[in-house]
Amino acid sequence: MNLWLIPILPFAGFLINGLAGRRMPKAFINAVAIGSVLLSFAWVLKTLLAAGSLEQPLAEHYFTWIQSGPIHIGCDFAVDRLTAVMLLIVTGVGSLIHIYAIGYMEHEGGYYRFFSYMNLFMFFMLTLVLASNYLLMFVGWEGVGLCSYLLIGFYFTENFATTAGNKAFIVNRIGDFGFSLGMFLIFRQFGSFDFGQVFNAAASMPKEVGYGILTTICLLLLVGACGKSAQIPLYVWLPDAMAGPTPVSALIHAATMVTAGVYMVVRSHVLFVHAPIAMDWVAGIGLATAFFAATIGMTQFDIKKVFAYSTVSQLGYMFLGAGVGAFSAGIWHIMTHAFFKALLFLGAGAVIHGLHGEQDLRQMGGLWKHMKVTAITLLCASVAISGFPFTSGFFSKDAILSAAYERAPWIYWVGVGTAGLTAFYVFRAWFMAFTGKYRGDKHPHESPLIMTGPLMVLAALSLFGGFINIPRWLEPMFPEHGGENPVLVWTSAGVGMLGIFLAWVFYVRAPELPGKFASALGGLYRLVLNKYRIDELYNFLIVRPLVGGSRAILWRGMDAAVIDGAVNQVGARSRGVGAVLKLAQSGYIRSYAAWIVFGSVLLLLAVGLGGAR
């Protein structure tokens, strides 16, 4: 089926634009960048249509990548039902965002650079989901991290952008360290990286009660997933990653790359099912992240930061779903989240574009009059993420929450509370941006069709994408849970609507209320506003000791004192010895002759006394 074409097409786009794009007109760059992604999307569709029901995974072996003793690692791609969903999300949403980016990046410098990085990202992301062994997946995993770094630091002349890029890269290294260790353990335990072999071997193992080898593997993989998918305690890089252009935030930091951690956990579900303790960790981290990030999202004023914390929170939901065993619900939420979160970011991008770079919600307001399409499409995304009945978020979120209820009712209630917070902060942002009076001093204008077009498509998907029943499609891989409990479903939907109502009261009906609440809560409000001071805490606990220790021990102690010291001492001692020895070079011939005579006499004496024979 030539699966290799799917990632190779964007890679070709990357090469062409990266090498020749600088000298080419924009139309050429557009054609290459968007064309390659669209072709890739078309090839995914063609492949999936031809493959039919995918009862058996569609596997292709290209070449042996590494062959050394017992190690045999191939360059293998495979498509099963899970991969099919991911492929459609990545190429489909990716195509829309690429098209949107034409309009958004119109006036930006480094146009070809932007699109070549975006294409490179598509290549690595598709490699990640297509790979059928852990090592090849890791290649894609690291590659998307690289592209994320490059695109966060896209405005590399700005200090905050490069800092944010470094932060994302370094925090991800911590996660990748865990992922690598997990892979090593997998190889030690199963002697292979191949998904099929590893999972077959793991399926025959008994469920672990304590902290055994499988649990260790899963916890290490979870560290990797936490880094990539921005979960506690490694979530700190994602809000800063908003320094990149908005299409990047939509594509990489909302719709696709950050879901890679969830995908990896779901892909490794055989391992996780056999390690119940690790599952509890996944669920716990997911739940904590979902709630914690939602509270921060309520207080932010940068429209992209609101949605960034919202992404962290929604990723927490996905982890929660995977952790309580509802893997298919987690993947469903990946899909719906890709729709509405990409839309939220693209809509935010349209607002920012229309306001010439303004991101502060306090400088917006009343934009409804100026950008109706953006307002309506963002409204669609907002109702979807709030779990309004029969929108996409309603289905996927309730699938997760129902599964959570079966695990333990309190998890469900925390999840429902978070859903209320979600609805509140999203509609807070919407009301602050689009209703009331305009508070800024720019001249807002609607975005061109090339930007609003993708918004409209995504709006339709956000509203109706929930009718794509992913759990049924994935049923052969992940047996479905018991039936849905209508009481639970409507409770969570009701809480979501309560959140919307409260946001309306706070920001439309009585705009003076939020200020009163903030001053009434005082310290607590400031704590949340400052993101619980986690960045400061990390700075204090990790960054500063690390930097200080490196400076004192590694630099001044090791590098300057020991290494440089040794080299300098060798040089200085040589000069000292030379300074003494050079005195023998007097320039007086007679003194040289005297030395020769002296030496000869000494030699003769030695030979004579020692006895030459």
């Binding site: 050079k582 005195l583 070079q585 007097s586 320039g587 007086y588 011939i589 007679r590 002759a593 005297a594 005579v597």
Partner: protein, 105 residues
């Protein structure tokens, strides 16, 4: 073996050693480059005498050949050395060997 009435071997060697030491002394104590140069010749010829002595004593021709080599080298050295001395005198108007000490550290 050497004939009984012949001059003993040691005498030649002692003479040669005396000549060589005179050469060394001249090299070390005289200041004029010309004299130093002559002292070198003296040392070379002292060595030549030793070669000839042993050649005669052992009735072998090697020593003769070697002394010819030394003479050739001495002649070549004299040519080069005198040329250098001339040049030095032209440039410095002096043949004081201690004044020619610029080749140092």
């Amino acid at each position: 073996m050497a004939p009984a009435h012949a001059v003993p071997l040691n005498w030649y060697l002692i003479l040669s050693a005396i000549l060589f030491c005179l050469g060394i002394a001249g090299f070390l104590y005289r200041r004029s480059i010309i004299t130093v140069f002559m002292s070198i010749e003296l040392m070379l010829n002292a060595v030549n005498l030793t070669f000839i002595t042993f050649s005669y004593h052992w009735k072998q021709v090697d020593g003769h050949i070697f002394s010819f080599f030394v003479m050739v080298v001495a002649a070549a050295e004299a040519a080069v050395g005198l040329a250098i001395i001339l040049t030095i005198f032209k440039n410095r108007k002096s043949l004081e060997i201690d004044e020619i000490s610029s080749m140092k550290y």
